[in-house]
Amino acid sequence: MSLLLTQEVPISWYLLLSAVLFSLGVAGFLVKRNLITVFMSIELMLNAVNLSFVTFAHQWHAVKGQIFVFFVMMVAAAEAAVGLAIIIAVFRARATLAVDRIDLMKL
């Protein structure tokens, strides 16, 4: 019981959680066949890396790590806006969201 009430959690557990989330993001990126879900998996990977940054910022008491996460968030917001606009444009041109059928650039 006293173990559960402790104020300390090993840094490596946070890093392992981040690694597992990143791997699940990679798996979603490879396995999912829907363009929007593939894009969501990319966001999941970005979030996993952000968790690593915050963990290391906590470990080193370094403010730059948290500021980097802030910049990643801003770039992710810009990326989401442009990416979803591209998805809308692709859907308008091909009338599908299945990644197998979006093969216009295939030789």
């Binding site: 890093l15 959680l17 396995v31 948290q66 996460v69």
Partner: protein, 181 residues
């Protein structure tokens, strides 16, 4: 307390991420991604990053995921279908992912002297300034130029999104298509 909160919200994170993979409808995946991002905000709080926890909820769980769910509804995205490509991706993708995870986990578990994360011990220094004070002091003095450049990036992204999402065939064609649906 820290341990209990960590386990609960790490569990939510993992459950949401696995559910994102298992669901076949994009709107369910989007909702489980919101669960992941909100739980991550709580983990940021545990690590003493209050500003980032708030920004995570507002920017990720709020703005970005609203955009996602809006696009899912706008495009009326249905269930994904099983194809030859998806079977190949499954049989190749999962072993590759397990290999990646094994490598990263080995590196983390072998690393010495990572130490522990203690609740309430963040960036705040002895002078009693809060996390957000420390953060903004660096952000608006040392890193003012990158910060301003990012605003230009977001402006360009807005223009690009509008240019991409607006109809390429002019207002006349768009009116026709809207009427056709």
């Amino acid at each position: 307390m820290h341990l209990i909160l960590f386990f609960v919200f790490a569990g939510f994170c993992l459950a949401g991420a696995i559910n994102l993979l298992l669901q076949s409808h994009p709107i369910n995946s989007a909702l489980s991604l919101i669960v992941v991002m909100t739980s991550l905000a709580v983990l940021y709080l545990l690590l003493g990053a209050e500003f980032l926890a708030a920004a995570q909820v507002i920017v990720y769980a709020g703005a970005i995921m609203v955009l996602f769910t809006f696009v899912v509804m706008l495009l009326n995205a249905g269930r994904e279908e099983r194809t030859l490509g998806s079977r190949t991706a499954r049989s190749v993708g999962f072993p590759a992912v397990v290999a990646i995870l094994a490598v990263i986990a080995t590196v983390i578990l072998k690393a010495q002297g990572l130490g522990v994360a203690t609740l309430g011990e963040g960036l705040s220094d002895a002078k009693g300034s809060t996390n957000i004070e420390v953060l903004s002091r660096v952000l608006f003095h040392e890193l003012l130029l990158p910060f301003e450049v990012t605003s230009i990036l977001i402006l360009i992204a807005i223009l690009g999104a509008v240019a991409l999402a607006s109809h390429g065939d002019g207002p006349h064609g768009s009116r026709e298509r809207m009427g056709g649906e």
